[in-house]
């Protein structure tokens, strides 16, 4: 199927030009309204305060101005020297790793249950996992905070039987809970679609060869659904990495995730240059994750036999 699809893509000279032209509008939109601001912002973080950046430069505090032609890393050096920033980077990475791992385990559980057991219940579980997709993140964050907070559901239930459950509001673990909640739908959709598309016959063949369910899953289903799983992983990780709303509502004052730090450096500390340094940090981390995505896709493109 996949091979024929690729083969079906036409590549004749005039059609190729037409295709290129048709593909341009969204790219131009992005280049102008996101690409250009990104370039300017990175320039500003390197100390270039002229041009459109002069607006920001006019009110910024603790600004580092470029002394050489290409700029200065002074703002980056300053941030890296800040213990708080290093802690926040670490916490952001930790929350990202934890959330992604939990999301992946849940999504795999839901998808495998749907694939191997099937039936109405399994379908209902999968549908349940997709519900958060339709709830605005602001509401979700707020609902989760009230659910786990001091007077929330969890503590209320424990209090019924006389137990004192920990309050989870404003903790790092609350950010993980919130991130898992909001990221689950995409992962469930990706992973279950990948696992659903593993044909019955190859699973049967593995069982017939003497593999139990666990072994079939490990040796056949997971490798065959590898790309959707990688995509689910990378997009979940990138999403959590740069998230603002969930940690802003549910997280503690310290340590804080980088997405919230940006807002604070902008608004509360009036240090836009440092805020952009944080944004660039997130971008660099996200790019690292994106490389995994691209590698997986090109790997599959090169061995066209899946």
């Amino acid at each position: 199927m996949r091979r024929t699809r690729v083969a079906a893509r036409s590549s004749g000279q005039p059609r190729a030009v037409l295709g290129f032209v048709m593909a341009l509008p969204p790219l131009l939109l992005i280049a102008v309204f996101a690409g250009l601001p990104i370039v300017l912002a990175v320039g500003y973080s390197l100390g270039h305060t002229g041009g459109l950046n002069s607006v920001t430069a006019s009110y910024a505090q603790h600004q580092h101005v470029a002394t050489s032609g290409w700029g200065t890393f002074a703002a980056y050096r300053e941030m890296l020297a800040t213990g708080r920033f290093r802690t926040d980077v670490a916490v952001t990475v930790l929350v990202t790793l934890l959330s992604t791992a939990v999301v992946l385990v849940l999504a795999l559980g839901i998808a495998l249950n749907l694939r191997l057991r099937g039936g109405r219940v399994a379908g209902a579980i999968a549908a349940l996992g997709v519900i958060p997709l339709f709830i605005p993140v602001v509401i979700a964050s707020w609902a989760i905070l009230t659910f786990y907070s001091t007077d929330g559901f969890i503590r209320s239930v424990f209090a019924q039987v006389g137990l004192d459950a920990p309050a989870l509001g404003f903790k790092v673990v609350t950010i993980v809970i919130g991130s898992v909640w909001t990221s689950l739908p995409f992962a469930v959709l990706m992973v279950s679609s990948g696992i659903q598309s593993v044909p019955d016959a190859v699973i049967d063949a593995a069982r017939d060869s003497g593999a139990g369910l666990l072994r079939t899953t490990r040796s056949v289903i997971l490798p065959m659904a590898f790309i959707p799983i990688v995509i689910a992983t990378t997009f979940t990780a990138i999403g959590v990495l740069g998230s603002f709303t969930v940690p802003y509502f549910t997280g503690p004052n310290s340590p804080r995730m980088l997405g919230v730090d940006i807002q604070n450096y902008f608004a509360a500390y009036n240090q836009p240059q440092q805020a952009i340094v944080i944004a660039v940090t997130i971008f660099v981390l996200a790019s690292g994750i994106a490389v995994l995505y691209i590698w997986a896709n090109f790997r599959s493109a090169n061995s066209k036999d899946l």
Partner: protein, 356 residues
Amino acid sequence: MRPTVTHTPSTTTPAGAAFSPPAAADAALVLQGLNKELGGRPIVTDLDLAVARGELVCLLGPSGCGKTTTLRMVAGFLAPDRGAIVVDGKDVTGLPPERRPSAMVFQSYALWPHMTVFKNVAFPLRLKGVGKAQIAERVEAALELVNLTHHMGSRPGRISGGEQQRVALARALVQEPALLLLDEPLSNLDARLRVKVREEIREIQQRLGITTLLVTHDQDEALSVSDRIAVMNDGRIEQVSAPTQLYAEPETEFVATFVGSLNRVSGTFSDGGFVPGPEVTAVRPEDISLHDHPGSATFPVRVDRVVPHGSFIEVVLSGEGQTLRAFRSGTVPVVGSQVHARVERSMAFVDGRRVS
């Protein structure tokens, strides 16, 4: 969940089977009173079958007749509602597929695309905990059996359909199964390859003396490779017989129609004429002879159409208010001409059962 099973499998087969079924002691596979409903619809009903050691039995029937369901019950992918499956005297009905001594070749081959040919074939052995050196040896032997040693390092996606089919066969054979199950193994191959591969399969099966159950809807395939054929219709076995017997002496109208070509009329041919009646008369096209002149028991017919088939000619005739087809070799009759036909041999069915 399942009924208690006697270890003396039934030897009763559908009425009047000419080929005597294997004695219980010989039977490598016994299916006893299998029943299966899917979605509230009976798919397999009261199915009994015994397959002798080293025998190749074909389950033949139209799509939806329950033959694949039967095979999947034997393999363990489906649990029968009632009945028992006994392999080599051991009741395996309750076992999951991975613990059954059977190996299956799937219609779609079901090769694992992320493993090389070698790894595909080696996988069952690795699961059994066979040593590395022995795996290499046995995989190589299996691939040699199907003539594929040169593709050992290839991914399944890079080799042709016929080759994939042979890898699937090697993967089943390498397990040295007590029972080989083939689910429409040739249906995804083109006509020429199909003939070649089925001969290869038969040759390997006989060389290894491996008990085999093959599912197909293709009568040519069934007739050419089987020791015996079980024709299925509507969840039941209609007849179990050797190929020649099945063709020559179908026990039911369904079997007669499904296997080979058939002229079917309501009525009888008697003394060179056609008499309409309630019973069904079936005549194989090769059992109608054509003559230029009238003779005993001939009746006049007109040649409507001539369809050459290479080695023989199919002649479409009309006469006595019927349309008949006859096969002949040699001279080609002129379309529109008047000739005389004689029914050399016929079968009669009442309510679908053979009466003469």
